[in-house]
Symmetry: C2
């Protein structure tokens, strides 16, 4: 052994030690995830698509990730939170608007009679109370009502404001993707105007990256200035097969990563991952945790039925998250 | 005078010289703009809204700028370029599709009979040829047809591919705004799917920031993979009062800067600049340059009628660009 090879050997030891120290000191991007196949799959996908020189490298403009909201980013029990907003709004208004008090569908809503609201081919009762609470006011007034509700309402089980119940592990996935130059979008059946009130503050997702159900607004130039008045016209429901259509209309690119929790997300999972010329990733949040949250799939008291997507997941290579097993903590309870 | 004051005096001279050298060496963000009120107004607005400590500072997430396309970013004569695409597509297909050859509206289009196409309350002829060329195919097939047309078609007057006719001064405005962390959007009556084929390459505006006219697509999972089939259902025309509605639906924020050229942009100029709690800016490109491009406003052979917005501009403080006077060069003729 000569001096040069001793120096090289020592150099290799030093480099290895530095690398180990670097890795050991590296910040864990997903601290609320237990180390299992789900966490590993997320990290493997992000690493392979964002590391220069990787055969699976995807250029930054194409790094589009889409997330369902209800049941994926925050809970959807005992009711989708937007429906809780509708009911609370009707409660708030009934004392001042007698015609509401006499409305049979309003009464059904306040009595929790979901069967009556959902009756009929077109869920007319539900559409009716949606119209009462989502049409006729300006977009500014609507946003103010949602803000007021978020500040005062409490979840019946967790006794927290609704916007504190976002899933901490999913907030970490959102932040991790964005740190790697992904654009994160919501693609949800919920109302876009409803979600835009809090999406940036809670999820870091700006209004222009919220794809949801929408209806036409009407521009008016009033004495007080320009407004947009909400209507129920040309209602677009961004759910099931509507999700790929909504992705195309609002984003115009095929995503490469898709996160959902129910059969309402099946079409967008397929759209993202089947025969995609780019590497792609699909993930389903399976609610298995009755203790900390709710356990449901084929049978659900609320929305979020999950049957077909779960069946198809192995064949498609979708990652299935077992909430009970994979998440160290559930809610963010932060802001 | 003592040594200390001499040093301060010399220091001041040196600092002044350095500043002057710095300014003189600074890159001009708008080299194709003549130094006049229009150029100065653009720079003043961008400077005041993006300089930390400025009383008019606007936080980055709210720096939303919207641009009309036809007549603002590229020409709209002798026809809106998308209509030229429609006519060229029909010409291409007629030899192989005899039923097209016998279609009276197709014949009118190929004969340049705009009067016949635009006849009727709902421009039925125009809608018909739009349906023939914009519905029934997948989004992928449609995009391929637009790409093929862009590669082969030539403007009848300028004898250039259409995507080389973008306005160089406006490309500079787009780049300048983005360098100052604005998000630049197109908000146009033109088809979103049509514009998305070239918007990123030509304007630096990605598909998810193109707001245009849209119709529903239908998701299908075929043996070859998932596709979206274009239809004419639920057609949303993103023009006039539709532009603020489209801005709300697709962006969800009020812009602070708005660039247009016709009365079709009046509503979105009003939506952007009237009683906006944030500083705002409106600009109209007035086509005054028959020699290098086209001169039109109240009377136009194509679209882009400009009467009301020009009248309202002084009262609203909108910047009016005189193309002949304000632009050193017109077309980019670059790629």
């Amino acid at each position: 052994m000569n001096c040069r090879s001793i120096r090289r050997f020592l150099g290799a030891i030093v480099l290895t030690a530095l690398s180990a120290a670097g890795l050991a000191g590296a910040v864990d991007p997903l601290p609320s995830w237990n180390d299992g196949t789900a966490r590993q799959a997320i990290i493997a996908f992000v690493t392979k698509t964002t590391t220069p020189g990787s055969p699976d490298f995807v250029a930054i403009p194409e790094r589009i990730a889409v997330f369902d909201n209800d049941g994926t980013l925050w809970p959807e029990n005992p009711l989708p939170f937007q429906l809780a907003f509708v009911i609370d709004e009707l409660k708030r208004r009934v004392p001042n608007e007698p015609e509401l008090a006499n409305d049979p569908m309003v009464r059904a809503a306040l009595a929790g009679d979901l069967e009556k609201l959902l009756a009929g081919k077109h869920h007319d009762g539900l559409l009716h109370i949606l119209a009462l609470t989502h049409a006729g006011m300006t977009t500014g007034e609507f946003a103010a009502r949602v803000e007021r509700w978020l500040a005062s309402a409490r979840h019946p089980r967790f006794d927290q404001p609704y916007d504190r119940l976002a899933y901490q592990p999913m907030l970490e996935v959102l932040a991790y993707l964005r740190a790697k130059d992904f654009k994160t979008f919501i693609v949800s059946g919920g109302g876009a105007d409803f979600m835009r009130v809090f999406s940036e503050r809670v999820y870091g997702i700006p209004p222009e990256q919220v794809v949801g159900s929408t209806a036409r607004t009407v521009f008016e130039l009033r004495a007080s200035g320009p407004v947009l008045v909400k209507t129920m016209d040309h209602l677009f429901v961004d759910d099931k097969a509507g999700k790929p259509a909504g992705i195309h209309q609002f984003i115009g690119r095929r995503p490469i990563a898709c996160f959902g929790n129910s059969d309402g997300d099946l079409a967008m999972l397929q759209y993202t991952t089947i025969n995609n010329p780019r590497p792609s990733f699909g993930l389903i949040v399976h609610h298995t945790d009755a203790k900390r949250e709710y356990a449901y799939d084929a049978v659900t008291m609320s929305s979020g039925k999950l049957i077909e997507a779960l069946k198809e997941a192995p064949q498609r290579g979708w990652t299935v998250v077992d909430m009970e097993r994979d998440w160290k903590t559930v809610h963010s309870v932060r802001r």
